[in-house]
Each structure stands twice: as structure tokens, then as C-alpha cells.
Amino acid sequence: MKRNVAIIGGGQTYHAARRHDVDQAEMVNEAVRKALLDAQMTMDEIDLVLLGNMEFFEGVHMSDCWLVHGTGAYGKEGLKITTGGTVGATTVCAGAHHVASGLFDRVLCIGFEKQEEGDTGAILSGVAHPLWGRSLAGAAVGYFAMMASSYMAAWGATEEHSAMVAVKARQNARKNPYAHLKLDITIQDALNSRMLAWPIRMLDMCPASNGACAMILADEKTAKSRCRKPVWIRAMETAHNEQFELDWRDVKTKRPIFSKVCAERLYRKLGVVNPVDYFDVFEIYEPATWAELIWYENLGLCAPGEGFRLIEQGKTEIGGPIPVNPSGGVLSTNCIGASAMLRVWEAALQIREEAGEHQVSKPVRRALTTGYGGTNWTVMTALSRTLDD
């Protein structure tokens, strides 16, 4: 990067299915004030505001204008970003690029969603192709269901394995005061939960959450003079697939699909030989349990076909050697516009050793985060504790 970029502060709201007490601007404002407080900064010091959410999810266009009193962007430079599920990570990525370019020194990035206020199922069908897909579309479950049945058929994984992911996520969420689904569930509970679309059950899917996350990015000079524990953004990478490339659901495909390509490019940039040795914690975007198992493989945390063995052996637990989503992840909290940003912020908290009860057991110097969105888009961000890491 042209200039080094650090996360110098951040904050999130408590995430929940209902936030009847606030409007969208007030909810966004909660996260912004927490981020400013964390960075020991005033709104006057911010020179760019980037706002991200899922396009039209609340049935509101130009949310950067309507929410301006909440974001603090009045009279400042700023823009709105909408890249679907990845938007929180894209917003951080855009913020980092703005700082790295040398044009801005202190950038406020915000991601939010107030899912209860919009017709999110209807709007999500707008993600499907209007000619070929929309008449058949119905939210996101089916997508993951087809990926999951391919995974089971290819590698012999069972419903018990996805249930293990469901339990890990919600038990981790119980250690995270901000998480939405803090469920004390067992594998049997997950297996008994309502079938949505084979083999995806209710507890295999993420919830619809309301919430916001905000982060402040700064250049090296500002970060070193103003921040006690800057977390450095070391590399970012984005990759897409096309909606009708069906073989992304064939988990045995040899083709370079988005998540593998993106990880490979990022690892090459950083000189990563083995991601399991290189990174100490992973915060990944898993809207469904099965997606987590497949991402393990795509990220190179294990060989193809061995993702379900990782969860079986407990390796990705908070106390395990490859902790994945100690925060509870998207399976426990999905305020979509904030979800991918929460991955980055939660990873930053791990590096700062300020994650509280869900701080992983091992020391954390480096973290990898991912965003995921339809139709098969990922944004990955690598963080480190120092510029020497």
C-alpha cells in the first residue's frame, strides 16, 4: 500500500431482532459515538464518512442523505457503498484505500442494517437476475442448501457436522454481549430444529438482525500519535463469480472460484505459506453452517473434503489451534450491512486483546477476515498487531 493504514477505533450496537426504541439514524449514531469514544476523537476531526448497507433493504434510497445527522457526515466528504453482503468489508476496504492514497487521514466507516423495517425477502429477490432468476427466487436459504447437499454427497459429511457449527456459533455468541442469538443449544437441538430446505434447518441459518458497526481508519502518523493499540490493515483482496456458474456449488470443482482465488491472491501478497500457521484467528462470513465448512477448505485451513473433520476435532473452537468466529459470527448476528464490518472489527478486538469473554486462548498477532455476498463475491482483509508482523 502507498501509505500504511490502521484501525484506530471502532464500536458496535447491541444486535437484536427488534429495535423499536430507535430510528435508523439513531441506531447508526450509537455505533458512531462508540467508535469516536474508542478512538478518543470528535466528529470534527473526521475528514471522510463512508456509509454502507444492503441496497434498498429498508426500502430507503439515499440513506447517506437521510441518515446524515446519525452518521455525522453533514458538510463532510462522503459516499454510500452498496455491495450486498460484503458491503461492510467493502466499506472498510474503500476507507483503507482513501487513507492509503494520501488524500484523507481520518476516515469513518459505517455499516448498518435495520432488517425489521424492510421487506428484505422481497428485496433480496431483486438480487436474482430479472430475466432468468427472479421468478424462481426466494431469499438465501436455497443457495446454501444446494451447496450443502453437494458437500454431503462429495465428502460424506453428515447433518451432525453442520449441527456442530451451529452449536459452536451460538455458544461463542453467549460469550459476546453484543451478539444477537445467544443460544444455549446442543447438537440435538440443532438436529431437531425445523427443516427449511434440505439439508438446511432453522439453526443452520443466520438470523435477521438489527444493528450497526463503525470503525475509524487513519494514516500511520495519526495512528501512532493518537492510538494506544492501532491494528494495521496489511492486505485486502476482492473477487467475484458470476451467478450462473453452477459449479461453485459443486464442492469438488477444480475451477478457480471466488473464495479460493481471493485467498490465494491475498496469501501471495503477504507471503503466506500456510494460513493456519500465519494467522492466529479467523472471522469469516458464514450465513449458513455448511458455508463455514466449505470456507475452511477454500481458505486453505485444511485440504478439500476435510472441513467437517476440523469441526469434528474441535480445532476451530475458541480454545482450539485455528479459532474461527469466536464472536459467534454471522450465524449468531446478521445485520447485513454491518456483518462483514463486524468480522474486521471483531478481529481487531482480538488483536487488541479486548474481546473480553470471547478472546481466544492463544496470543493473536495476525487475523484474517472475510465478507461474503450474492452472487458469490468475497472481500478479504488481513490485519496485524504491528507493522513487523
Binding site: R19, H20, V22, D23, H69, K114, D119, S125
Partner: protein, 151 residues
């Protein structure tokens, strides 16, 4: 210019219908309950900026301060600018012709668009004093004010 094609261009019909339900928040909730139950209009004062906002809000747009108090404003106001909508569209809230005016309520420093009615179009002028006509059955909606009319 008409483009000639060797095929018959085909159009695919698709519709998206989406509902929305919006929680009005700290200032908005108090505003809507007050208009519904008492026909009283509330604005949000910012002491730092010496401004009163209408529509109300709980954060000052200018200084980012938190606004916790609300004050009664109006109900009388002044036309700041207006237009006459002469064409009809299905999306329009009223049949044409109708008058849109930006009205600044007494005690407020900002104006908001609403309808103007019970007035001859050629009698409308900037600076005209107006008052709200409230709906008989109020639901907690900005259309609990049906329209404004001259004093």
C-alpha cells in the same frame, strides 16, 4: 430513431412489491403521538446552534449534539416557497392540480413540504401565513395534517 432487428425484441414483465414499517425513534415517536392525541406539533431545539428543527430529530445535523428536549411549534406557519403541480401521475398523492408549499412553522428554523389547499392558486404567495387542517381520525402520520390553508 428506430433500430431494425432481425428478431422480435421481447420484454419480460417483473414486479417487486415491498412493504416498509419504520420505527420513529426518540424524537419521531414523541412527535407522532403528540400530533395524534393532542394535535400539537413538536420541534427539536439545539441550544448550541440556536436552531429548532422541524421535522424533529434527536441529533443535531450541524453540531452532532444529542437533542433530548422537544418544544411545541406552530401550529401557524409561513409559506417559504411553493409550486402548483399541473400534471397527473398514478404515483402523485393528490389529483392535479394541487399546491406543494414549503412551510416554516412559527418557532422552527427549518421548513418542510406539505399541501396547501382551500385557496385560489393565483392567490398563493411566498410569505403567506397559513394554519394546519388536522384530520378528524388521526393515526400518527404526517397526513394527520391534511393540508395547510391561509389564515
Amino acid at each position: 430513431m428506430e433500430t431494425k432487428t432481425e428478431y422480435q425484441p421481447f420484454e419480460v414483465d417483473q414486479h417487486l412489491t415491498a412493504r416498509g414499517n419504520y420505527w420513529a425513534g426518540k424524537a419521531g415517536s414523541r412527535f407522532f403521538v403528540s400530533i395524534r392525541d393532542k394535535k400539537k406539533l413538536l420541534g427539536s431545539p439545539c441550544k448550541t446552534c440556536n436552531k429548532v428543527f422541524w421535522p424533529p430529530r434527536s441529533i443535531c445535523t450541524f453540531c452532532f449534539g444529542e437533542l433530548k428536549e422537544m418544544v411545541e411549534i406552530g401550529p401557524l406557519g409561513t409559506v417559504e416557497t411553493f409550486t402548483v403541480v399541473a400534471y397527473a401521475e398514478p404515483i402523485h398523492p393528490r389529483p392535479a392540480p394541487f399546491i406543494y408549499a414549503v412551510i416554516r412553522l412559527d418557532g422552527a428554523d427549518t421548513g418542510m413540504a406539505h399541501f396547501l389547499d382551500e385557496v385560489e392558486i393565483d392567490q398563493v404567495r411566498i410569505g403567506m401565513r397559513v394554519k394546519p387542517v388536522f384530520a378528524t381520525e388521526r393515526k400518527g402520520n404526517i397526513l394527520d395534517i391534511r393540508y395547510f390553508k391561509p389564515l
